[in-house]
Symmetry: C2
Subunit: 458 residues, 2 copies
């Protein structure tokens, strides 16, 4: 084992300053889905641009308009003979509701033990600050050894609606040999992993309309079909008794897992009990018959209800027969399903199953394709060595259940694969109350990124 | 046909003053289910007591505490040889949401054509003001010809939680020969009707809990059972393909309709098309197989979803796997079902059908028994004659789909039947946005009450 590099040692010395900056970044409530937080989105982009320019000392730092939240860009291209890495991150975060379940204010980063709590600190302001801190440490200790382009967007949490168009319009600016995507996690603080597949997403809002206004459930209960009941029946029909999704054609293009992949997923050093804990302790697991939990989470498609609303949901009782009912419904997709194929499937299901006593309306919010990348390219080898050097362990190859639409956009528009390496932990409560970042893992992640950029150098 | 009495003529002359008072009454937002409206409840009770004392000139007017909203009481007992009528009403109203669907402010009574719009104006401030105006007109024109006790409560819209106890504690004060309950309607402005049966109610809130906090649907979708999906499946299972409720034992005690009752219900002078209109135009009707719409609405029990909530229901998309999901569920009951029997049925259903991958929790908000009364008592004959005298038509005997718990309380605690006669219309939008009162029908109702009190006199 060699001595840690000067850059890695610098990170250890400057840890408290690095964390101070992260706290400032995480205190900005840059929630992309709520229009009232638009000024915070702008503020977060300006904070980042300032740091990239004046602290990491990248060149050509710009805040670029997209039609939605701006993209922050910066570059370091002083090594013409070396490869160019396009580093991706996002500075926007999820909403905070239910706010009353937070133990500390979501935008006042608070350290509790080894964890720093704030909305978006794991997903993914911590990851963004991690690779920028790595670049900053390299810059100050011998220089960034390869060429780097950094792109940080502000609309990932709403499905990156402007990103593909932006990348297509800036092909020359963003030209690179491969991408590094840090919107990822590892298995546990001692078990490094690399992601080689991501699920895609299709997100819908389904409205069922009955009578034109709310009715008295005593007067009309029994003759007017209750839209909340119809919605429940439609949702109930979307899974069969084996936990499989019933939309017509849903599994047609689904790729079968290879035996070596199933074996690799079985290496996961996490017991079912530990996994239940990281999943906030449901009474027990549930899922599609015939697959292990890790296979269900990464390699199988799902259909989830993300929200339900109808009628009276306040305190006490109101005997209303609601005029309408709504569900937010999303599907996680796996190779080789296509995001654009799902809407027609859902429409076919609704046409076949919705009764004539109601009207329905389907809104598609977003869709993205699933991703599968190489497991043996040179950049992936560089990532493996970097993880081994910091964690002293060979990483596990994982299929990730979440969706990172930009990875398929990079493939489709720029023709480049992504190395998917980040340091969120399964119990970070991303998208949930009390989201946190494990500080020791965050600091190790910076060292891995330093090793990675060094390993890329020819 | 005899000349209208002096009291009836007085109502016609004073119509505009009567309506002015009603507007003042309806402008008080006495919403019983929302604790922040507690001062308005008090204000409404004080307004009523003042009117009963100083305008109707009843004796012994009191605002009596109940542990919840107070009861307003007044009496006129100056005819010792005559029968005593206990007149019932309520001064509380339903909440107004969804507020944005109101075309005029719910607590600024607004006349549009023949209709006066305000929350609670039909259910039942208009009905209360109708019988009080009848008593006032009699008082000023020859005197109230029988003995009257007036009880107006403030918790009907939350299921009258303190009323039974109050009545039991005031048996002597409330002793009467029969009750008049005006929380009722007629078929249309030209078709009078009397109610001889009411549905009971059992109202629940069902929570399904999965993980202890919201999760990222990408990370855990496929292994953690989605409580919104489970709730939908549980709700879907509560009806079979014939529209029948599946709770074990639900139909066991349900009374079979007699042939003469089915024939009477078939007299309803309303087409399916008209009925769809009064039901705010659903695409078509739905209901339990084997029954007509009027039978389903009055004589058959139902199970309704009054509210649904889970996860993210704001603007846009949030890929959350919710920790919990809630439904407000209520059953309308018919003779001889018992309100107290429903909770064990629902619990048995949930025990049999809820999967082990979630926890569930059931809260009962309220229950009340259905009611069936005599169709040929002397007070009912007096009501028939009163309706004939004003409408020139024999009334239709109806089974009412709504629940008026006090009627069964009067039977159980005071041992008296109720004459159920009021003048709401099916299209009054009670419990819904833009609730209204049809002014010509309201004024005719006052004359019916005058005739009724006169007919009761021996």
């Amino acid at each position: 084992m060699t001595q840690p590099s000067a850059a890695r040692l610098a990170v250890r010395q400057n840890a408290s300053a690095i964390l101070d900056d992260l706290r400032t970044f995480a205190a900005i409530p840059s929630i992309s889905t709520l229009s009232e937080h638009r000024p915070d989105i702008v503020r977060a982009s300006e904070w980042l641009a300032d740091k990239m320019k004046n602290q990491v000392r990248l060149n050509n730092v710009q805040i670029l308009p997209t039609g939605g939240a701006p993209i922050v860009y910066g570059e370091w291209l002083e090594n013409p003979s070396q490869l160019t890495v396009l580093v991706y991150g996002h500075y926007d975060v999820q909403p905070v509701d239910p706010l009353n379940e937070w133990r500390t204010p979501p935008f006042e980063p608070t350290q509790v033990g080894d964890n720093l709590h704030a909305r978006g600190i794991s997903d993914m302001k911590g990851q963004v600050w991690s690779f920028l801190s790595a670049l900053g440490a390299l810059q100050a200790n011998g220089g960034i050894p390869v060429n780097v382009k950094v792109l940080v967007e502000g609309e990932e949490e709403i499905g990156s609606p402007h990103l593909a168009k932006f990348i297509a319009a800036h092909k020359d600016l963003l030209k690179a040999d491969f991408s590094l995507n840090a919107d990822m996690g590892i298995v546990d603080p001692n078990t490094p992993s690399l992601v080689y597949g991501l699920r895609g997403l299709a997100y819908f809002e389904l409205w069922v309309h009955g009578a034109k206004s709310d009715l008295h459930s005593g007067l009309f209960g029994g003759v007017v079909h209750n839209p909340a009941q119809v919605l429940a029946e439609l949702i109930a029909g979307m899974h069969d008794a084996q936990g499989r999704v019933t939309l017509p054609g849903f599994y047609e293009k689904v790729r079968t897992l290879a035996e070596d992949e199933r074996a690799e997923l079985a290496r996961m050093p996490i017991s079912e009990e530990q996994l239940l804990r990281t999943a906030a302790n449901p009474p027990q697991f549930y899922g599609e018959a015939g697959y292990t939990s890790f296979e269900r989470m990464g390699a199988r498609p799902t259909l989830e209800i993300n929200g339900l609303y109808s009628g009276f949901i306040g305190e006490g009782s109101k005997t209303v027969l609601p005029a309408k009912a709504m569900a937010k419904i999303s599907m996680r997709l796996v190779p080789y399903q296509k995001g654009a194929d799902i809407r027609p499937m859902l429409e076919a299901y609704l046409q076949a199953n919705a009764p004539a006593s109601v009207h329905w309306q389907l809104i598609e919010h977003v869709h993205s394709d699933p991703v599968l990348t190489s497991r043996d390219s040179a950049p992936v080898q560089a990532a493996i060595s970097a993880l081994e050097s910091v964690f002293s362990m060979h990483p596990i190859f994982r299929l990730e259940g979440g969706s990172v639409p930009v990875v398929s956009v990079m493939q489709d528009v720029l023709g480049i694969d992504s190395v998917m390496m980040g340091f969120a932990l399964p119990d970070d409560a991303v998208h949930a109350p009390n989201e946190k970042l494990h500080v020791p893992t965050f600091l190790r992640g910076i060292e891995v990124f330093i090793e990675f950029f060094q390993n890329i150098r020819k």
